[in-house]
């Protein structure tokens, strides 16, 4: 650091607030007009775009009787879906109305949605996890399309970029399903061990899971070829492909680890390392939807932005406020939101001024 530390991006372009709860997730609506944070106390905090700079105006609503375990932008242009340890899936509409979509017998640990990037009002799909089952519903949330069974509890789900397939991670591998198939012929991707999260390459070239043993496992989808990506000091709790699929950006080390998915990689290639905090584990990553930019959050509360091409680092905020537990970019790339285990929530406005 130089003698006078530059004012951080958060101070210049952001707003922050501290809650008395563990921030368990954050999401930004598909129309990029609302940011939502969810907590271990069952609350959702919603910030409309006009109030991004005024943290005291963000609205707190209790949505679950217990912890909110998952949050996703609704399949509709506005609003959110949340899953809780009260075994319910709820919708918070753009106008703030809360409704209960599902009340089951298991925690709703994961929620994912897909909507056409061209027209978010048509053909959207909602997916959520309850135990070993993934249930798919139409965008209304009222009609079940299908229920997908797995051999053990599902630890993560993700749609592919086109919304045609959904993948679920579980013990001994991952399963890919066609969302709209009349007859289900799931593709089993097998690898012994406990898989605890899943991502799909934006062009559908590969599927990668995070594993209990602090490593990644991947399958090249064209031929099922196995890939192993190891060397992490901690479990990889967060991973994301860059918009063009060139890099898989991951947490789990005291630098941001990026695996190359070009030029024959990641097989036989060393990962690139982008900045970091010595001795402090990266806990969350997010990739920008428009530019070659990565956001990373660390166990000491540090958040930084990095340019994957120029390897330039821009600090968003320095240490403090607890380990980063939630991090997201808006679909239009204008907002970065993050939250911490100790209740700090923040929104940074990245739009051109």
């Amino acid at each position: 650091m130089n003698e006078a530390a530059p004012v951080s991006l958060l101070e210049r372009r952001g707003a922050t607030r501290t809650l008395d709860a563990h921030v368990t997730g954050c999401a930004i609506s598909r129309d990029s007009q609302q940011v939502a944070f969810v907590t271990g106390k069952g609350d959702i905090i919603v910030a409309p775009r006009a109030d991004w700079g005024q943290a005291d105006a963000w609205q707190v609503t209790t949505v679950h009787d217990g912890a909110v375990l998952s949050v996703a932008a609704d399949a509709a242009p506005g609003g959110f879906l949340t899953g809780g340890d009260d075994n319910t899936l709820r919708r918070i509409a753009a106008d703030g109305t809360v409704s209960e979509l599902v009340r089951g017998r298991r925690w709703v640990e994961h929620v994912a949605t897909w909507a056409s990037p061209k027209d978010a009002t048509k053909g959207g799909v909602i997916a959520f996890v309850a135990g070993r089952q993934v249930e798919l519903r139409d965008a209304s949330g009222e009609t079940t399309l299908k229920t997908l069974d797995h051999p053990s509890t599902v630890s993560g789900i993700t749609f592919d970029a086109k919304g045609k397939r959904i993948a679920a991670s579980h013990y001994n591998g991952a399963t890919m399903w066609f969302v709209h198939a009349k007859v289900d012929t799931p593709r089993q991707l097998e690898w012994k061990g406990s898989h605890i999260g899943v991502v799909i390459h934006p062009e559908g070239e590969a599927l990668v899971t995070s594993m209990q043993e602090s490593e990644l496992h991947g399958w090249r989808l064209s031929d099922g070829h196995n890939m192993r990506m190891s060397g992490y000091p901690a479990k990889v709790a967060s991973m994301a492909f860059t918009r063009n699929g060139k890099w898989l950006v991951t947490s789990g080390a005291d630098v941001v680890v990026m695996w190359p998915f070009f030029g024959g990689g990641p097989m036989g290639k060393a990962p690139a390392e982008l900045g970091g905090v010595p001795g402090v584990i990266c806990t969350r990553v997010a990739t920008h939807p428009v530019h070659d930019i990565v956001a990373a959050g660390f166990a000491d509360g540090t958040v930084l932005l990095a340019d994957t091409t120029a390897q330039k680092i821009l600090p968003v905020c320095t240490a403090g406020g607890g380990p980063i537990s939630a991090l997201a970019f808006s679909d239009d790339g204008c907002a970065l939101a993050f939250g911490t285990e100790e209740g700090r929530i923040a929104i940074v406005d990245l739009s051109a001024r």
Binding site: A21, A67, D85, G193, Q212, A299
Partner: protein
């Protein structure tokens, strides 16, 4: 900077987890309800795995599947409860809503994967601590169960606390036989008699069964050598070396022993006197997973000698004694 997040968590901050095992019908759920409804002013989260005939009387009950998997860490017996890693991680996000967690296992469950989960997973270790394995035993059926089921033997062998329940259904002579049979398997656990699970909470909660500070706090109670049930599949053995040990030699010996015999050694505990060290060294292991550390000076009036206890199958007493004695400092 680096110590800001890497500092080892102090045990007071960690939420205690009690594991409740025992055969179907032994009275686990009765004991559980007794704990939950007692006037202690504490709140518990309960993780249950089977819907027994009795309901669990608590606000926060999590229904789980016992999902065991084998770690790919080259350790053949390292099985872990993946569902617990997930559930404990999520429960800890509630923060401040409860004082402890009680995990009830199915009747046939092996306690090892539960215990190993606390050795293996960094997130679980960072927020919770395994307090004790409590095994409920039905006095009326236990002798038959032990003859028929290796799982029941494992549950007793693994226990820090054994609740001998339904003692009103058998007479004193039978109870003595039962207790000596249990002691032959596990000479370290605290054994309490009960009827309908009516034990004081201080006998079940806050036992520090995996706390190095409290390792072998209670002197093991073993039967005399001659009284041993030699047909017993699982046994306890304790060893004492009065002369100071060479720390490096001990580490090398115990490391090799656990590597070779870890599948047979269910639990091991020790308090050791290293030559040239004023502090006691505590050691414990569950199968091949071990941990150890210095736990402060010897207490006043305490004899600085090294004690080691093994609970397991196929334990070779002369071999273990020779091995332990070979760790003496020259």
């Amino acid at each position: 900077m680096s110590d800001a997040t890497q500092a080892s968590p102090d045990t007071d901050r960690l939420v205690p987890v009690t594991v409740l095992t025992g055969f179907l019908g032994a009275g686990k759920t009765t004991l559980l309800n007794h704990i939950l409804t007692a006037e202690h002013g504490r709140k518990y989260a309960v993780v249950v795995n089977e819907f027994g005939e009795l309901g669990v009387d608590n606000d926060l009950v999590v229904d789980a599947d016992e999902e065991v998997f084998e770690m790919n860490n080259g350790c053949i017996c390292c099985t872990v409860r993946g569902d617990l890693i997930r559930i404990l991680g999520n429960l800890m996000k509630r923060r401040g809503k409860f004082d402890g967690i009680i995990v009830e296992t199915t009747g046939l469950a092996d306690p090892a994967p539960v215990a190993q989960t606390f050795f293996v997973d960094e997130d679980v270790r960072g927020k919770t601590r395994l307090d004790a394995v409590v095994t409920v035993v039905d006095a009326y059926n236990v002798l038959q169960t032990l003859n028929e089921s290796p799982e029941a033997v494992n549950q007793i062998a693994f226990a820090d606390v054994i609740i001998l329940n339904k003692t009103d259904l058998v007479d004193e002579v039978a109870l003595a036989t039962i207790e000596s049979r249990i002691r032959a398997i596990n000479g370290v656990a605290r054994l309490h008699r009960a009827q309908r699970g009516d034990v004081p909470l201080s006998d079940v909660l806050d036992q520090g069964g995996f706390d190095l500070q409290r390792a072998l706090q209670q002197a093991p109670r073993f039967l005399e050598e001659s009284e041993h049930h030699h047909e017993e599949d699982v046994t306890s053995m304790s060893f004492v070396v009065e002369e100071p040990l060479d720390g490096a030699k001990f580490q090398a010996w115990i490391g090799a022993l656990l590597q070779e015999k870890g599948a047979d050694i269910l639990r091991a505990k020790g308090i050791l006197n290293y030559a040239g060290e004023s502090q006691r060294f505590a050691f414990q292991a569950v199968h091949m997973m071990a941990d150890g550390g210095f736990i402060g000076p010897w207490k006043k009036g305490e004899k600085p000698e090294s004690r080691l206890v093994f609970i397991g199958r196929n334990l070779n007493r002369p071999q273990l004694r020779r091995g332990f004695e070979s760790c003496r400092a020259k």
